[in-house]
C-alpha cells in the first residue's frame, strides 16, 4: 500500500484490475485504492506475472502492506517479488513514526536520484495512451463494461483523444440505449452516484419545481437530500450547493459516509496546511502582469483553430509559471532534512477544487517541456479525472511546485499556503481590464496579478522577485511559450 498523498497512513483497496496469471508491464495500472481524498490508480513498478493478490477488495490496510506478489519473467525461479506499491511504501512507512507519513515522502529517494526517478516516472501507461489516440486505459474499459457502454462509440476528451473515465460516465448517463438503470460503481463513503438515466433530450420538465443548480442537484443526490423540500437562497429562489449542504448538516446521521469522507478530507488538508504554516517561514510577493500580448496572441491563435484545440488563458499562465520555475530552480523542489533538494524537472501541481468541496493538487509532469496545447489537454484531463474519475499515484505525489488559480472565481489575487515539502506556491488571479499607463498614456489593458508564496529557508526574496519577473517576461513573448 503506497503512500498516496496528504497524511495518508492507510488505504482501502477498491478494485483489482488484474488477476493471478495476468501479464503486466511496469507502469500498468493494477489496482484502485481509496484514500480520504480520492480514489487513486496504482501502477506496477515491475514487469511480470501476477502471482497472488494478497489484499482483498474492501480491505483497509496500513501504508507499507504488500498488496500482491508479482513473478518476474526473467527470474522465473525466484517468484514472490513484492508488488509495486511496496516499493513506494519502503520510504513511505518511516520507522521514525513521529506522525503520519508525509505526502511526498515516497518521492524522497527518487528526488535524490534523478536518473532513477526519471525512469520511474516514465510510465508506459501514459505513453501508451499517447501512442494510441482513441484508446482507453484498462480502468476505463473496465468501467465501460460495468456501465454497459460500447467503448467504440465513446468520444474521448483526454490527451490525444484518449477516452477518460468521465467520457464513459457521460456516455452512460446520456446513453438512451442503456435499458437498465445505470449504477456507477460505488465509491466508498459516497452514498452513491446512482445516476438517473437522463433522457437524451431532457427538454421535458420533470415537474414544476424551483430551480436547482446542477451542482446542488449532484451533491443532493450524493448526500441523499430531496431538493424539492429545500428553500433556495440563490437568484429566483434557486437551490444552491450551500442550501443542500445546510440541509445535509441538519440531518447528519443518515448520511454518515459522505460526511465522514468530507471530514477526513478536511482533516487531511488541515493537518498539512497547519504543518506548512507551523514549519515553513513563508514570504509573499506579488506582481501585476500586463496580459495584452498574451491575450492578443491567444485570440489570434484561437481564431485559426477548432474549439477542441483552443487554449484558455490558464494554459499560458501555467506554461509561464513552469518555465519560470526552470529558470529559478531555487523555487522548484523540496525542503527535506534541513536542506533544499531541487526537483529533477518541473512537475506542476495544479490545485483543483472538487465540486463536493475540498481540493486536490495533482501534477502535470514535465510541464515546462509541454507545448501550450499539450499542457491544455493535460489540464482538461486532470480536471475531469480529479472531479469525476480517478487520479494516478504519481500525479498525487510528485509535484515540485504548485499553482492555484482562482481567477474563474473572480479573485484578483491569491496568497496561498505552500504544500510541504514543496517550497513555493504560485497564485493566479482573474484577468481584468485596468487602466494602465504605457509611455505616459493611460489605456485599458488586461492585467493579472501573479503572486508567490515561498519558503524562506530555501530561497530569499531576491529569487522570488526574479521568479515573478520571469513569469511576466515570458508572458510578454507568448509565441515562445
Amino acid at each position: 500500500m503506497p503512500a498516496l498523498g496528504a497524511d495518508m497512513d492507510e488505504g482501502t483497496l477498491l478494485e483489482w484490475l488484474v488477476k493471478p496469471g495476468d501479464e503486466i508491464r511496469k507502469g500498468d495500472i493494477i489496482a484502485v485504492v481509496d484514500t480520504s481524498k480520492s480514489a487513486i490508480e496504482v501502477e506496477s513498478f515491475h514487469t511480470g506475472t501476477i502471482e497472488r493478490l494478497i489484499v482483498g477488495v474492501g480491505e483497509t490496510v496500513p501504508v507499507g502492506t504488500v498488496l500482491a506478489t508479482i513473478a518476474e519473467q526473467a527470474a522465473a525461479a525466484a517468484p514472490a517479488v513484492a508488488a509495486a506499491p511496496a516499493a513506494a511504501a519502503a520510504p513511505a512507512g518511516p520507522p521514525e513514526a513521529a506522525g503520519p507519513p508525509e505526502p511526498q515522502r515516497a518521492r524522497k529517494r527518487p528526488a535524490r536520484e534523478p536518473a532513477a526517478r526519471a525512469k520511474q516516472r516514465r510510465q508506459p501507461v501514459i505513453t501508451s495512451e499517447k501512442a494510441q489516440p482513441a484508446a482507453a486505459s484498462p480502468l476505463v474499459r473496465h468501467l465501460a463494461e460495468e456501465l454497459r457502454v460500447d467503448i467504440a462509440t465513446v468520444q474521448g476528451t483526454g490527451p490525444g483523444g484518449t477516452i477518460t473515465r468521465a467520457d464513459v460516465q457521460r456516455a452512460a448517463i446520456a446513453g438512451a440505449g442503456v435499458a437498465e438503470p445505470v449504477t456507477l460503481p460505488p465509491q466508498p463513503g459516497v452514498a452513491v452516484t446512482a445516476a438517473q438515466p437522463t433522457p437524451a433530450r431532457p427538454t421535458v420538465p420533470v415537474t414544476a419545481r424551483q430551480p436547482v443548480t446542477p451542482l446542488a442537484r449532484r451533491i443532493a443526490a450524493e448526500l441523499g437530500i430531496d431538493v424539492s423540500k429545500l428553500t433556495g437562497s440563490g437568484s429566483r429562489g434557486a437551490v444552491r450547493e450551500a442550501d443542500v449542504r445546510m440541509a445535509a448538516t441538519a440531518r447528519a446521521p443518515t448520511q454518515a459516509p459522505a460526511q465522514e469522507r468530507e471530514q477526513a478530507m478536511r482533516q487531511a488538508i488541515g493537518r498539512l496546511m497547519a504543518r506548512s504554516k507551523r514549519e515553513i517561514p513563508h514570504y509573499y510577493l506579488s506582481n501585476t502582469v500586463d496580459m495584452t500580448a498574451a491575450m492578443d496572441w491567444l485570440h489570434q491563435r484561437n481564431r485559426e483553430l477548432e474549439v477542441t484545440e483552443r487554449l484558455v488563458p490558464a494554459a499560458l499562465l501555467l506554461k509561464a509559471t513552469a518555465l519560470a520555475a526552470r529558470q529559478v530552480p531555487q523555487l522548484n523542489g523540496y525542503w527535506e532534512d534541513d536542506r533544499f533538494a531541487p526537483g529533477d524537472a518541473v512537475h506542476l501541481g495544479v490545485a483543483i477544487s472538487l465540486r463536493g468541496g475540498g481540493l486536490l493538487t495533482p501534477a502535470i509532469h514535465d510541464a515546462a517541456e509541454l507545448a501550450p496545447g499539450e499542457l491544455m489537454a493535460q489540464l482538461r484531463d486532470l480536471v475531469n479525472r480529479a472531479r469525476g474519475g480517478r487520479l494516478r499515484r504519481a500525479e498525487l505525489t510528485e509535484a515540485t511546485i504548485t499553482v492555484t488559480n482562482l481567477g474563474d472565481q473572480g479573485v484578483e489575487s491569491v496568497f496561498g499556503v505552500i504544500y510541504p515539502p514543496q517550497v513555493a506556491l504560485v497564485g493566479i488571479g482573474k484577468i481584468i481590464e485596468r487602466p494602465v499607463a504605457v509611455g505616459g498614456l493611460v489605456g485599458a489593458r488586461p492585467v493579472v496579478i501573479t503572486t508567490l508564496s515561498a519558503d524562506h529557508r530555501a530561497s530569499d526574496g531576491y529569487a522570488g522577485a526574479r521568479y515573478l519577473a520571469a513569469v511576466s517576461d515570458l508572458l510578454q513573448r507568448p509565441e515562445e511559450l
Binding site: T198, A200, P211, V212, L215, A238, N302, E306, V383
Partner: protein, 79 residues
C-alpha cells in the same frame, strides 16, 4: 435552424456537460455559467459541443452571445 431546434441542441449540449442540469427551470436570461456553476473549462466544453452538434464554427468573439439561454438561441438561429 428554428428556435426550438436551437433550444434542443443547447439542452443536449448542456446535459452532456452537466448531466443533472435542471433545464426546465432555467430562466431564459439567466447567466449560464453562473446558473450552472460552469468554470472556464466547462464553458469550453459547451462551446465545443455546440459546435459539433451544429457543424458551425463558433469563434471566441461569439462567446459573449452564449451567455444566456435566450442569447444563445438567438445566436444559433441568426445565421
Amino acid at each position: 435552424m428554428t428556435p426550438e431546434q436551437a433550444r434542443n441542441v443547447i439542452d443536449e449540449a448542456i446535459s452532456q456537460i452537466a448531466p443533472d442540469a435542471d433545464l426546465g427551470s432555467l430562466a431564459p436570461d439567466a447567466d449560464l455559467r453562473d446558473a450552472l456553476e460552469l468554470d472556464s473549462l466547462d464553458f469550453l466544453n459547451l462551446v465545443e459541443s455546440l459546435s459539433q452538434r451544429t457543424g458551425r464554427r463558433i469563434d471566441e468573439d461569439d462567446y459573449p452571445q452564449l451567455a444566456t439561454m435566450a442569447s444563445a438561441v438567438k445566436f444559433l438561429t441568426a445565421r
